[in-house]
Amino acid sequence: MPLERLTFWGGVKDCIPTLLGYLSIGFAAGVVGAAEGLSVLEIGLMSVFLYAGSAQFIVAGMMSAGSSILSIIVTVFFVNLRHLLLSAALAPMFRQYSAKKNFILGAQLTDETFGVAINRLTPNTTHRDQWMLGMNITAQINWVLATLVGAWFGTWIPNPQQFGLGFALPAMFAGLVVQSLIHRKKFRTDLIVAGSTIVYFVLAFLWLPGHIAVIAAAVAAAITGMVVER
């Protein structure tokens, strides 16, 4: 099979389908942040350095609830611990690159860019570093712009949820699940993994906080996949 040469601009292009997701969720994050009392500057800085939608919602919510800095940091740590799994799943595709380069590429990893990358990058492709950088930069620029616009609007939209924006995040996850289910050749096993994840999450959530239940369910379901594939 001939190798497919990926490019920076190919990464930019492959990022485009996710942009509306970023725009709507970023917009929502900006509006909510402003509603919780954060300034436009603070929201912008979070989008540049933190760059994690769920974490930015949490920071805004916990700050306005008067939580301590330490408790906010610990919560964000647990919420983003899932990135360990995502980063590890992508790592085999970046084996040939330097640690410095992989640090830069990993720093901009999100649920969405991961979803696109895991479907697009195969052992049959080359120049994945350029492609990944193109997608990462496109995604984050859109995120920063969307949250800033949202923050500005936040001062005069009292209730953003009423426009359905709250469903942007679940819809994005739904799209990514369907894409990865359809894309791979292990449809039966993948379906079992997805189905068992639902059961594991519901059980785990009875005992554990949501962000831990996500990790526990994902680990258990991935092990289930290993067991049933034989």
Partner: protein
């Protein structure tokens, strides 16, 4: 354009605990390689994490389940999944989701 007191420390803290899980596997695993069983495990992680995040986003609110009979998310999820399967497009999927939720709320559900 203001920065509240303590915000910069908070920002540094949350940024670091977000950065580390994102970069550590990419930096370390590429250096040391991975055993075969871990690779087999990892190929199921994406779909498992995505599904878990979806279930959490649809079924829960804060730290409790949304009562099934009152869960508007499940209703909005139906057209969202249909469009996702039919078009395989994230763009149309997200538009459908937001639109469905907007309509459901408009009719007071």
């Amino acid at each position: 354009m203001t920065l509240s007191e303590g915000f910069l420390w908070l920002l540094i803290g949350v940024s670091l605990v977000t950065l580390l899980p994102r970069v550590l596997p990419m930096v370390l695993i590429t250096k040391f390689g991975m055993p075969e069983w871990l690779l087999r495990f990892l190929q199921y992680v994406p779909i498992a994490v995505m599904t878990a995040l979806l279930v959490q986003a649809v079924l829960t609110e804060g730290e409790s389940f949304i009562p099934l009979m009152e869960n508007v998310n499940l209703l909005a999820l139906i057209p969202t999944l249909i469009v996702a399967i039919a078009t395989r497009s994230l763009l149309f999927t997200v538009i459908t989701g937001i639109g469905a939720m907007f309509l459901l709320q408009l009719f007071g559900l």
